[in-house]
């Protein structure tokens, strides 16, 4: 069983510079746990308080997991997982500047 996970540039410090790593698990949550065992620190960058971080996008076979069950999304052998940080920003409300 192996799932390929595409790692964004900013998180490649955890994968020894690798653009993609493989892992195992029946759900995204299990997959992340498995990745964490080989790439310590990665989980903290993806998960916060038991949920996917707001500004991290994860896709399983081109579907945003926010619409397919979040961390409980099923994954299986041969699936393609992509992790991308959100591209966001902006001036903010005047009081926050």
């Amino acid at each position: 069983m192996a799932v390929e996970v595409r790692i964004p540039t900013i998180l490649r410090t955890y994968t020894g510079g690798e653009k993609a790593v493989s892992g195992d698990g029946a759900t995204l949550s299990e997959l992340i746990e498995n990745l964490e065992s080989n790439h310590p620190g990665l989980k903290e960058r993806l998960v916060e308080d038991g949920d996917l971080r707001r500004f991290v996008n994860v896709y399983v076979n081109d579907e945003d997991v926010r619409f397919t069950g979040g961390l409980q999304t099923s994954v299986s052998d041969g699936d393609q997982v992509v992790v991308l940080p959100a591209v966001a920003g902006g001036a903010g409300k005047p009081a926050e500047l």
């Binding site: 964004p8 540039t9 900013i10 500004f55 996008n57 896709y59 081109d62 945003d64 926010r66 992509v82 991308l84 940080p85 959100a86 591209v87 966001a88 920003g89 902006g90 001036a91 903010g92 409300k93 005047p94 926050e96 500047l97």
Partner: protein
């Protein structure tokens, strides 16, 4: 320093003016490791807000898959501030997660100040590196031409448009 061709520079400014007062956003992709912004890709601001921008998550995936297929990376990530200066906000700094990108900020705060229908006021165009929360402004060098015809302009012919 950000080196960018005139056509791409103009396209970014035009996008910012067109979307004002909503923040405009987009990417200029280029060959991985080249530091050359060659392919202008305006994006939809899914937030549709005058104070916030975010790429739609499916647009984001399509964008990156296209860049990976082409051997590209985001060389420039740009957005506009429509009521404030072209300097990264706290949100901009917190969300900057492409360590190799030039973060371009365009301000249209004074662009429409000349009265009704007037869009000829100044547009400020500034570029920054944002790494681990540290902001470093860099000069912007606008080179003549467009990336398809002049991928390597002669440095002697560059026009420095850096902002103080």
């Amino acid at each position: 320093m950000l080196r960018i061709d005139q056509a791409t520079y103009d396209a970014i400014v035009a996008h910012a003016k067109r979307d004002h007062p909503v923040e405009a956003c987009g990417v200029v992709a280029g060959p991985e490791g080249s530091d050359r912004p060659t392919r202008f890709i305006p994006m939809v601001n899914a937030a549709g807000s005058p104070t916030y921008y975010e790429f739609d998550s499916m647009d984001l995936l399509r964008l990156y898959k296209e860049m990976w297929a082409n051997g590209e990376e985001p060389v420039v990530i740009y957005h506009s501030h429509t009521a404030t200066e072209a300097y990264p906000s706290r949100t901009d700094i917190a969300r900057a997660e492409e360590p190799t990108a030039h973060y371009v900020l365009v301000s249209t705060a004074d662009t429409f100040s000349g009265g009704p229908g007037n869009s000829d006021g100044p547009v400020t165009f500034r570029s920054y590196r944002i790494i681990d929360g540290a902001v470093t402004e860099e000069p912007v060098s606008v080179v003549p031409g467009d990336p398809a015809t002049e991928p390597h302009s002669n440095p002697a012919s560059t026009t420095d448009r850096s902002q103080p």
